[in-house]
Symmetry: C2
Subunit: 326 residues, 2 copies
């Protein structure tokens, strides 16, 4: 959802004078993006997205996010391109907030992803991993294994309101993941939030990847683990291995996983499910209703956590043996 | 506000097959409209608004609303034109709701209306009143003087939570308005909700009138009374008579008010301020937070009610004597 901040035409026109985008003809607040205010602009030239960065986004991270979009777009990836103003800047100020104008990508995100969508997103994220290798900026993952315990502690005392004995269960998960979290896997820039609503299609064809506001440096295969959670579970909580196979094969057709990465996948998928469970639980229990955060049911991800806890090998996700693939 | 119902691309594509609008390339839920879910669509041909009618809108009223837009657009007014499907219908069904596709109007609503905007909206509403004279359907005003007491009774017992002795004050207003409400004034189709967010401009030029979902048959000058409330008060609650003059002169340049209409204006302005106060009070006190109604501060309109209560003549709004005008 979104649009925390409304803007007047006068201030928007003034902002746009420094951009070579033609005459403004309309702007509508759009119900997308959880962290920021987004507007769809029409001008005499084209369509654009205007984003005002609200307080949940750290301003120091904006050069990384905008620079990454630009880097990836220059490498030929279909992602939004930040428009530079007459001073060469991608970042301006509007309504007292950091603001960026980016190109509008046509396309629609799949409300009901199928195996083809999964294959496409696997390929696209692998392409992003390769294209990001020579990006010069870095950003630490602020929601990695070391951050989960402090996050958990904000909700822990009330967790049993959600389900009996949940605290014991999550404590055990945390201990397991903290002790066993892999090291030394291939790293680079990951998207870290490539959920279906951030991946656009025109028909069955991928058309654009958006919303890089969780992007960071981490194990590349951790992004694959996030994709498995975001794309391959059905509404009833079951894991669809056909989708998992399509996603993993799509990824490996561009960037094959090493044996170490494949071996780490169950633990990473378990961890990434816990990460989304913990942020949702926190929003659910702790963040006030007035904060306009969209609260998503944390139980969905608790079911995924429980699934991954019992996975022994990545073949259970549909990963085919390396020598079948390469 | 906006987007209660999300829709999948598959169901949207299916819906659009019966419309000659080209290939769908994107759709975004937009943060506009209080009662319905609205999407901005891009197709290979043009841009459109898709509206899903939610439960606060009576389905039986939809032919009136859509027919009116069509009637006004055919008369040359700049308002959205409902697109007909291959069966000649302006109304379809999508996601289990009545749904209509209408043309997208470029333009922006003025966040800070000036006297020129007021003059323009006065003219446009007068044009609408003339253009609506031969519209064949009718719709009773469901929020006129006879409806205020029942509405008030839903909030009355809790009104003093908002301000001490508010109940006595509102009871006196109701008695006064019910006893003195005019009869026999020129009637016709009125917009009844022409607030700034429903009137678009490109620069200083009017570009479009939208959102006819409160339109009904009532005294034409009652619409003028609504405009005075919606456009001519400043944020501090003061009435800006320069704006009032511009608005009334704009209106009268297209449709002069009769002496009886001018005389009735203070009572109608008082009543219309009370009508918006009562609906806002009801949403504030009675409607649950989960209903996703945007709650607007009722006190703003209470200040207007108090202002109008002391107005003796329409000249206080900036109405010039008839013989100065005509």
């Amino acid at each position: 959802m979104a649009v925390y901040t409304d803007i007047s035409e006068a201030e928007l026109r003034k902002f746009l004078t420094t951009y070579d985008v033609g005459e403004l003809t309309s702007y509508k607040g759009i119900a997308e993006g959880v962290e920021n205010s987004n507007f769809l602009l029409h001008t005499s030239k084209s369509a654009y997205i205007l984003t005002l960065y609200e307080k949940r986004v750290d301003r120091d991270d904006l050069p990384f996010f905008l620079g990454l979009m630009e880097h990836l777009a220059r490498k030929g990836m279909s992602c939004p391109l930040p428009v530079h103003n007459s001073e060469g800047q991608a970042l301006g100020v509007l309504a007292g907030r950091p603001a960026a104008l980016i190109t509008f990508l046509e396309g629609m995100w799949p409300r009901r992803p199928n195996a083809n969508h999964c294959s496409e997103v696997g390929k696209v994220i692998a392409q992003m991993h390769l294209a990001g290798q020579d990006f010069s900026l870095t950003r630490k993952n602020a929601l990695s294994v070391g951050n989960w315990r402090p996050l958990w502690e904000l909700s822990a005392t009330r967790a049993n309101e959600v389900e009996a004995d949940l605290d014991t269960e999550i404590e055990a998960d945390l201990a397991l993941l903290e002790a066993g979290w892999p090291t030394g896997l291939p790293s680079g820039v990951i998207h870290a939030d490539a959920f279906p609503d951030n991946v656009f299609f025109l028909g069955e064809q991928f058309s654009g990847l958006i919303d890089f506001y969780f992007a960071c440096n981490d194990f590349l295969v951790y992004d694959v683990a996030i994709l498995l959670n975001a794309w391959c579970f059905e509404k009833d909580g079951s894991f669809n291995v056909t989708k998992g196979m399509a996603l993993l094969a799509g990824y490996q057709s561009v960037r094959p996983l090493s044996a170490e990465e494949a071996e780490a996948l169950p633990m990473l998928a378990h961890g990434s499910a816990l990460r989304f469970f913990l942020t949702r639980l926190h929003d659910w229990l702790v963040v006030s209703d007035g904060a306009m955060v969209v609260k998503k049911d944390p139980m969905e991800y608790l079911r995924y956590v429980r699934f991954h806890r019992n996975v022994v090998s990545a073949t259970e996700y549909g990963l085919r043996r390396m020598d079948d693939i390469t």
